[in-house]
Each structure stands twice: as C-alpha cells, then as structure tokens.
Symmetry: C2
Amino acid sequence: MKTTAVIMAGGRGERFWPKSRNSCPKQFLSLTSDGETMIQKTVRRLLPLVDMSDIYIVTNAAYGSLVAEQLPDIPKENILSEPAARNTAPCIAFAAAVINRKYDDAIMMVLPSDHLIGLEDIYINTLKKAARVAEQNGNLVTIGITPEYPETGYGYINFGSEDDNGAYRVKRFVEKPDLATAEMYFTSGKYLWNSGMFVWKLSTILDNIKRLMPDIYEGAVKIGEAYGTDSFNEVLVREFTAFRSESVDFGIMEKAENIYTIPGSFGWDDVGSWLAVERINKTDSDKNYITGDVISVASRHTTVCGGKRLIAAVGLEDVIIVDTDDAVLVCSKNSTQDVKKVIAQLREQGRNELV
Amino acid sequence: MKTTAVIMAGGRGERFWPKSRNSCPKQFLSLTSDGETMIQKTVRRLLPLVDMSDIYIVTNAAYGSLVAEQLPDIPKENILSEPAARNTAPCIAFAAAVINRKYDDAIMMVLPSDHLIGLEDIYINTLKKAARVAEQNGNLVTIGITPEYPETGYGYINFGSEDDNGAYRVKRFVEKPDLATAEMYFTSGKYLWNSGMFVWKLSTILDNIKRLMPDIYEGAVKIGEAYGTDSFNEVLVREFTAFRSESVDFGIMEKAENIYTIPGSFGWDDVGSWLAVERINKTDSDKNYITGDVISVASRHTTVCGGKRLIAAVGLEDVIIVDTDDAVLVCSKNSTQDVKKVIAQLREQGRNELV
C-alpha cells in the first residue's frame, strides 16, 4: 500500500521571537548550524519512506509562498493552504479528502513540521512499524516518545498490554500534568510522551471522521470534490472557514476504537523554546552555543544567536541573546516562557511589524 | 585676579564601549538622560566662576571638531589640539604657555572633562576656596574628594594639619591601594581621593615646570610664542611630539613645595564604567535604568541603553546591555572590567572600525 505523509505547518509559535514572527514562524527557521530549516529537515528525513510527490504540506494561506520557496521539490498542488486556523482535526480532514482524490486507499502519516529527530534511521523504522500496524483492522496509531524525565509541558499516553501486532493498546490520553503527576507517570513505565505523530489508513481516518465529526466530514468531502477544479478556492474558503475548531486528539483519538501506540526512541526534540538551541547543537567547552559575529569573554552556559552586528557577551551565565535586524532579545534561561509577554506588550502597543 | 580653566579632554577611555570609540570617547558621550554630554556638563557647571572666553579645552587633534561641535560658544582659539598623547604634564605646560600670552598672571584651574558633579554650588564654592589658597605664596592646590568607601580604583592623598589658609598640607600622594590598604586609608580619616583637579596661579605652575621639568618648559615656551602666528601648527607639532610622556602628579605634585588639598564633598563621580550609569541616573522601582526602545519583563538591577532597535530584557538581573548601530554589549555587572578584553580581541582581529 502506498505511503503518504501530511506535514502540519500552520503553527505561529511565539517562543522563538524575535527570530520567529507572524510572517515567519518556527517551522520556517533554521535553529541548527547546518542552515536547514525545521520543515526542510522534516521533509528530507521522510524521503527514505515517502515519495516527494506523496508529501503534502498543510499550512496557513499566509505561508504558502514560504513553503514553496523552502521546498521547491514539493508539487505545488500538494501545498494545502488553510484559509483559517481551525486546529488539527479540520486540517487532517482537508488533507485526507484531497489525498483521497489520488488514492482509493493509502497509508497516511500525519507529522508536525517543527520537531527535530536525532536518529533518523530509527525514526523511519518506527514509522514503518506503525504503518504495518495501521494496515490492519482499522487501527489508529500514534507514535509515543519514551520519556526521558518527568516533563510537565507535554501530554502523555497511558498504554496497556502489547498486542499481537507489536503495538501497545492506548488506554487513555492525558493532558499536561503537574510535576508530581509527571513524576508518577515517568516512574510508572506505563506512559509515553504524546508527540502528535499519527499513522493510519486513509480509509480508517475518513471512516472515523464521518462517524465522530460528521459536520467536518461533509465539508471536507466538498473540498475534496472541488480539488483541482476552478471552484476549489471558493469551496475551500466557504467550507473551511465554516469548520469549528477541533483537535484530532479530542475529536478522534479520545473517542475512536483500536487506538495503538508505538514507542519511539529516536532522539525526538520538540524544540519548544530558545532553551532547546543549546541542546540540539554542539556547545563549546564552556557550554556556550554561539553563532554569528560574537565575541564572548568569560561567559558560560550562554546561547548567542547573532545577526548582522557584533555581539559582545561578557561574563554572562545562563543567558540567551538573539539578535535580528529590528529587535534583540536578552533573556535569562529561567524566563524563556516570558518571551510571550514581550509579544503581548508589542501587540498592546500596536507594533505589529515586530510581532 | 582673573580665573581661567583648562579642561583636559584628550582621553580615549575604553570602558564605555560600544558607545565610546576611538572616534568618540567618553567625554563626548551623554550618559545621563538629559542628553548633555560629559564635556558640555563640565563647561556649563564652571560658568558661574569662569568666563566662557577663559575656558580652554586641551584635546587630541582628532577630537578638535567634536569639541567645536559640542561647545560652539568656546572660542576656536581656546581649543588646544595636542598632536600626540603625552600625559598630563605636557598638556598643562602647553595650556599654561598659551594662557600666558593673554594674561600675565591668573588663576588656572585644571579639570577633567569626563567626571560628574552632583552638587554644583558646593563644587563652585570649593573651587573658589582653592583659588583663594592658590593666590598665596605659590601654593599648588589639589581638590581631594572625601572618600565614601574603601575604593581600590583611585589614588589617595594623605593630608596633614590644616593651615591658616583653611587648606590641608599634602603629606604624600599614594597610588591605587589594595583592599586592606584602602580600608586603612578609609578609616584613618587622613586620606582623600585624588580627583585630578588642580588649582594654581599661572605664575606658580610655570615656575614649577621651569624648575622641575626644564625640557618641557622650554618646548612649551616656544609653543606659547608661536600661538596666534602662522607657524603655530608647525612649532606645536615639532615641540609637542618631542615631549616625553609625564604625569603632572609625578612630574610636579610629588616634587613641588607648598602642596595643599581642599577636601570636597560635592557628589563627585568619575563615571568609571557602565556600572556608574545606574548610580548617576534615576532608576525604576526594580532598580533598572532603562533608556531607548526597551521592553523589560521581570528584570531587576539591570541597565539597558537602547539604540535604534527594540531591546527585550527578560528575567535579567545585574546585567548591562548597550546597543549601538554596529555592536551590542551584554555584560554581567561583575565583569565590566572585561569590556577591554573585547576591544583587545577586536584589535587583534584588525576590526578597527569597531574600536
């Protein structure tokens, strides 16, 4: 059975301000020294498993040209532009309806565009295993990440016994826990991190959308029918903007039958804030990660992402500096979550060009 | 007797990099929110005591146009440009020889161009008292600053008994002490900080230069004779560049007779590094001093001198940020002395446009 992939690239992440902006969110940035952007990495690492012509990018209409620019080998008709943000369930329904015009059935992998994978061979093998499980009995498969510590920033998957097919039955999905709960999850050995990667057959997900979200199914079918015709854009705007906002986790995964998880250990990193940059890159002997035109004197555990001007970092510890043409961020590592307060102030001041 | 003032403005201070550069050292910067530069303040605060036409600025030839621009009311012929840096003794000899062309004798006050004075009336009264002492018996008077804590970065003046004239006899000048010595000086009540401000009669200083530094005297007289003539520049370059480098402290003050000090308590601040900026300006309720286009979130005890771009300071404590068009400094308050290491690296790299 043919394997297809849908990469979700509509996010507007604020946590990489000032590099990320409304006009260029995280998935379109390079946060590693190789210069490859997050979405370019996401596509490249899939190529051993999925043909370029079977990779679909669902993104916000505003980012269509960024996708085309960064991924020139993706067919233009595979770039699916959402006319409004409606969370992941309408996004997946849209993509499934479109792919269904090309294939009667296929494996459909749904993947975030802005995560990093350290061990790409193991990642591919995990997806292959998920595809084998998804081919059977209308199974819905999610990739669970083996937790490395009691993270409170992720949702968790509580799994049960291993089935004949080598996958684990999902007992329930749980929201981001508090620290005590996260510690319990971590030590129990019965929980995985929810990575937001899904594998299923096209027919399976369409059946589930029809059954669990019939309103969204109906609109998606209309969009699929219009795909490739002159009326596509008109139908897309009308039907898609009418969708309610719904996550695939709540709309499908928490309600459907036959939910499985495959545990993955492939150096996954969701690159959630500037803190991640020193983790995903090689640091120097003082544990600094420094790029660009920077002079560092006696600084330690410090991240400096330089821009066009010289940055001198003197005697700093646990500080993050990010320079861009029109804004500089200087942030304590303990305060990366407060970067969104800067953005909120800029919005209040009406300085949208900086957001 | 007429009162004249000589403001020494040849310094190339590196401690305010990246705002201070070889092309624009500290005395030409504004480090206070009123926008007045250090040398503009120095001149303005003297005006109750000295006519504008009797204020002389001795500076490096490279800064002549900066002086003229910042101090348009100073007569052009009072801007004395040194063709080379030879420390304070040749500087003072040059100025004395020039002023001697205008006045047979006068009070001559020699003052740094880059210090701040909080209580200007008391400062003026202190200088007046020094002038009265200097008019008598060929006295050389230095203004000593009442120490506020055991500073190790200044030289000290060890003073003896109070004389009839209300001044204190100087027993000796001492170099920058170590901390234990500074503490001893501080608690003894017999030491003042050496501020580098001197008051004497023109005739007194010329007599002392002639006696203690006859070589420099000879050159200075030639320069004075050429002042106002077509050959001035040629004579100045020839005689001044031939001077040895010598400080007035070592060349005159430590060897001459009749050295007095007047203790001053007028909110003197030598503004020695970026640390001073929060001291000499009004800080906010979190003890931040912030100027320019800055958004601060949960930062404390932090100084941000913004430039043309937005600076976001998030969760910082005891950090100094200085933005300029081509360089940003981010420095821990404990490390302000290391700023010179940045400049040293820039020199090594041949990046003189940044120095």
